[in-house]
Each structure stands twice: as structure tokens, then as C-alpha cells.
Amino acid sequence: MAMTDLWMHPALTLLLGAALVPFLRGRARSVLLVTVPVLAFLQVLAMEPGIYASVSFLDRELVFGRVDRLSQVFGHIMTLMCILGSLYALHVRNPAEHAAAWTYVAGSLGVIYAGDYLVLFLFWELMAFSSVFLIWLRREPGSPGAGYRYLLVHVAGGAALLGGIILRWQATGGDLTFTGLDVTNPDLSAWLILAGFLLNAAVPPLHAWLPDAYSAATVTGSVFLCAFTTKTAVYALCRGFAGMELLLPLGTVMAIYGVVYAVLENDARKLLAYHIISQVGYMVAGVGLGTQMAINGTCAHAFAHILYKGLLFMGTGSVLQMTGKSRFTELGGLYRKMPWAFVFTLVGGLSISAFPLFSGFVSKSMIVAEGFEEGRTWAAFGLMLASSGTFLHTGLKVPYFIWFGRNNCSPETWQRAADPPWNMMAAMAVTSVLCIGIGCYTPYLYNMLPFVVDYHPYTAYHVSETLQILLFTALGFFLFLKWLVPTPTISLDMDWFYRMGGRAVAAAARGPIQAADTFIGECYRLVGLAGMLLAARASAWFDRRAIDGAVDGLALAVRGLGGRLRRVQTGRLQVNIFSAVAVIVLLLVIYFIAYTLNP
């Protein structure tokens, strides 16, 4: 018990930090924005393997802190990315954006260290409900819609996950420990949990939320979004579904799917979002292979991917920040105005393309090599094909049509274009150094992986193979440049079904929805108060030991909240959701503190 007393969850650090942000201004806030993620990162580094923060809730044990090699490699990269993202966002004035980002990262860390499915589900939902603010806070005409669609899809995924968890509870007689599921004969609960994980990993056909939402997010928000949701899902897949046969073909299809849409895409950030799907495809395929080397490869690729994809979103984000544009048909020829943003984006492009000496080279190849090794030749060739497509778009198309190519900039865009503020430049520079560092010095990454690594990326054959594929892809790019010029179009994807289908339903149901709205308003008035009092009684019951003195005050406060809740409900839904999330976060923080003080 002595160890448990000292253990503090890095998610708690970020949640406390998020609560503090609005109260600080100027230099004090900048200091906070740097120190809190660094603190969380140091906490992760200091952790020893073991089970921590095992909490009794009702009649069961909830495990908030399972630390082992698999959770550690993900905890390491998530907190590292949080440092870089926060540095990149240092200039952002709106405290809500910082608070949302950190709450989102806290959700991801909560999932990574969760020892059972209930804790996992709690933080899984926290991620969805906090990250949506990174889309809404963009305040563009399209942002509310994109945010609601994002939420809609994630709530559906969360429901599948919860359904799976409940069924599993029933089947195992109450054991909800988060370990490997039966992947050879999965039952319904396993399928539902898998569906929840695959949706967050953006596996087609459950993927359309990703490009839809990430291209609509704020400049700094998309840097956070591109790292956490999909890679947390990859972690969950590694833990729960390693060796599931189905995931190998799914991952391979996914890797190619993203490439096809990237050819058609005109928006730089949407193109990068499609390439997240493609890259996560390698990881899903790695989970499908399920061998020690493949799981190592999956973790290594997730690690490298978070950094280079963050860097790419930082580079294109700085173009959007400075010019207000992200479409190729409104950019071009910017190398004279934004040379450093070009260099950093190029480093990201070469890393994702797996050029020798860059990070992708030492991570992606572990999965592909294991595919060949295991005799999955078609999958391995499919992944090689996607490698060519990755370089074609992220390494060539993005830099070429923003910084070279035909200058489509309006005079105003050209006037505004310049390298971004120092903090964005610093974040890109540090991330670039990390991308190159990982590619050149492999022990840093390899020693962190869950299993012992017996893999050497720098063989003459592998270097020659990679250079041939990439450089001959470049030849193809320049020969067929004319066909690759972006057009001012969008491409229909799976979101068509719920975007157009939703309209049909809305048109048919306008009357009933109106009636339901009035009814729900009435329910809030009548039931809200009783429900809140009940909740207060329940929390009083299980927190009595820790905060019994405060209970009366809490109940009174909650009684007041019931009345206020009714008024809040008539306001905008965004505000409602924010209030709900704020309450959840607050309760979580109180609970953590109560626990730490009185274990």
C-alpha cells in the first residue's frame, strides 16, 4: 500500500492543469502551459511497473493505474506529444482550447493506464467529449456541424463499447479486467468491444468522422487530435485483440484506402487526415499479425507516427494560421515567404515516407518485414504499395503544391504569408529533431518496446529497396504532375450516409422532434431535481469516509444545480455538453484527491 500512496496519475496532473488555465494570464499562463505537460511526462518516466490506484467502487475494484511495458511506451509518447502540442499552442489566448486539449490528453492517458473496462470506458468518453471542443472552437461556419457529426459517431462507438462491456460482465460473472480477449472464437461482447475500438482507430467503413472532423478543427486543435484518438485505439487493440486474423486484411485495405482519397483531396489538412487512416492501417495490420515482432512494430510505428504526423499538422497548420488557407487551389509558391515551415513539413514528409535516417524507416518496416516473415505476402505487398502512395502525397504533393507549383495565392494571402510565431517554430524544430533522432539512433525507441527487439533496419537490402521505391515514385510524380494538380472539389465518403440520411430524417421528423423537445424540457424540470438529489445521496454514500463533512453542503449545492440545469438545457447544446463534461471532470478530480488523501 505504501507505493500506492505516492502514485499519482499523470492524467490528474493534466486535469488539474486544465482547471488552472483560465485563472492565469500572460507570462504565468505560459509557464503553466510548459510545466504541466513536462510534469506529466516526468511522472510517466518515473513510473515502475505494477498496479496502482486500485479503488473500491460499490462492490468492485477499479484499477486506474496498470503500468507495464505496453502502457509505458504509449504513456511516454502521449505525454511527449502533449509537451510539443502545448508549446505549439502557447500563443493561443482562449483558455478553453488549452483546457479541452489537456482534458483530452488526460482521457487518453486514463485509457492507457486503465486496468479494467469500466475505467477504460470512463476515459474513452472523456476523450470524445473534450476533443469535440477543439473542433467547435474553430468558430467557422462549418465547425458546429462537423463537431456534432464527430460527437454523434463517437457516441455510437461508445454505446457499442459499453454494450460489449456489459455483456462481458454478464459472461465472466463480473470480471472486467482489461486483458486479451478470445480472438479465435470471439463472442458478441468481444465483437462489440472490437467495433468500439475500430471506430476510434478509424477503420473503414467506420472512418469518415476523421477527415471530416480533423480538417475542421482549430490550427492547434488538429495537432492534438491527430495524435491521441486513433493511437489510443491502437493501444487498446494491442492489449485486447493481438493476433486477430481479421485485422490483417482490414489494416491492409485501410492503408490503401487512405492513399486513394489522398490523390483526390484538395485540402492539405484533410489529405493528412486521410493519411492517418493509411498509417494506422499498418498498425492495425501489425495487431492482426500479433507476433512479438509485429506488436513491437505496431508500438514503434505509433510512436514515430505521433511525432511526424504532429509535425505535418504543425507545418500545414502554420500555413493556415498565417494565410487563412489550407486548400492547394488557394496556395502555391510560398517557399519565399515561409521557408522554415517548408523545411519542417518536409522533414515530416520524409519521416512518414520512411526515408532512411528518418523515423518511419525504423518503425514501419518492422511490420512489413514481419508480414513477409509470416508468409503474408499479399498483405506485405499491399503495405509496400501504400508506402509509395504515402511518399507520393505527403512527401511530394503537400510540399509541392503549397510551397512550389503554380502560385494560386490571392494578393491578400501572399501579403499575409510569413513564417509563424517563435513558439510554433520551436515546436516544429524540436519535433523535427526527434523525427531524425529516432531514425538515426534506434536504441531510444527500440529499448522502450514491449518485447526484446531483434531487428536491424539498416541492412543494404532494406536501404536499397526503400530508396528504389521512393525515388521511382518521385519520378512518377514529376512525369504525371499534370494529372495530380488539385481541383476545387470534395470527395464523397462514408459520411455521405449520415449527412444526407440525417437530412431526410430531419425533414420527416420536424414535428415529432419539436414535441419531444418540449417534453424533454418538462422532464428536466420535474425529474432533474429528483435525479440530482439521488445522485448526491449515492455519492454521499460512497464518499462518506473521505469527505463526510462536506456532504450536506454538496447536497445543497446540487439541489440548486437542479434548478439551474433546467435553464441551461434551453441554451445551446454545446454549453450543455461543456457543463456536463465540466461536472464529470470535477467529480473525477474530487474523487482522485479524496482517494489520494485518504486511501
Binding site: 521557408p339 516473415e373 504499395l385 502512395g389 529497396e465 521505391i469 521511382f472 504525371f480
Partner: protein
């Protein structure tokens, strides 16, 4: 600005740069054929000299044209297709 000057230096000598790149591609294939062992090859096809060069180029062309063909099937739409929802 040194980066800009370097890029402009290359742009002003575009013919030389292209020639240099083509020579590099040729050397890459030649080097792969003469210098690189095949003990890491996984399939028979990989034993052909310059197999991955051919693969890279062919796959790149396939990706470009298949994707464009797919886009023209009705997948690509004007930007205001969804209105402003």
C-alpha cells in the same frame, strides 16, 4: 535567407538538377544489381535486378490513375455539395 537562396540556386539550374536526378536513379538500379546481396529477399521476384524500382514506379502510376478513375465515378463533387451544414 539561406534556404531561399539555395532553392533559387537549384531552380535556376533546373536542367542540371533533372540530369543529376536521372543519373542518381540509374546508379541506384545499377548499385542494387551489382552491390546489394539478396539474402534478405522474401520472394522470387525480388531477385530480379531493380525489382523495387519497377515496383515503385508501376505502383505510383497505378495509384494515380486508379484513384482518378474512382474519383470520376461520381465521388468528386463541387465544394458546396453539402451546403453549409
Amino acid at each position: 535567407m539561406i534556404i531561399v537562396r539555395f532553392i533559387e540556386f537549384l531552380r535556376n539550374r533546373l536542367r542540371t538538377v533533372i540530369l543529376f536526378c536521372l543519373i542518381l536513379l540509374a546508379l541506384l538500379v545499377l548499385g542494387d544489381w551489382l552491390l546489394v546481396g539478396r539474402e534478405h529477399a522474401h520472394t522470387a521476384a525480388e531477385r530480379w535486378p531493380g525489382f523495387w524500382s519497377l515496383f515503385g514506379f508501376a505502383v505510383c502510376v497505378v495509384i494515380i490513375f486508379v484513384s482518378k478513375w474512382y474519383g470520376r465515378l461520381g465521388i468528386m463533387k463541387p465544394e458546396d455539395y453539402y451546403g453549409d451544414d
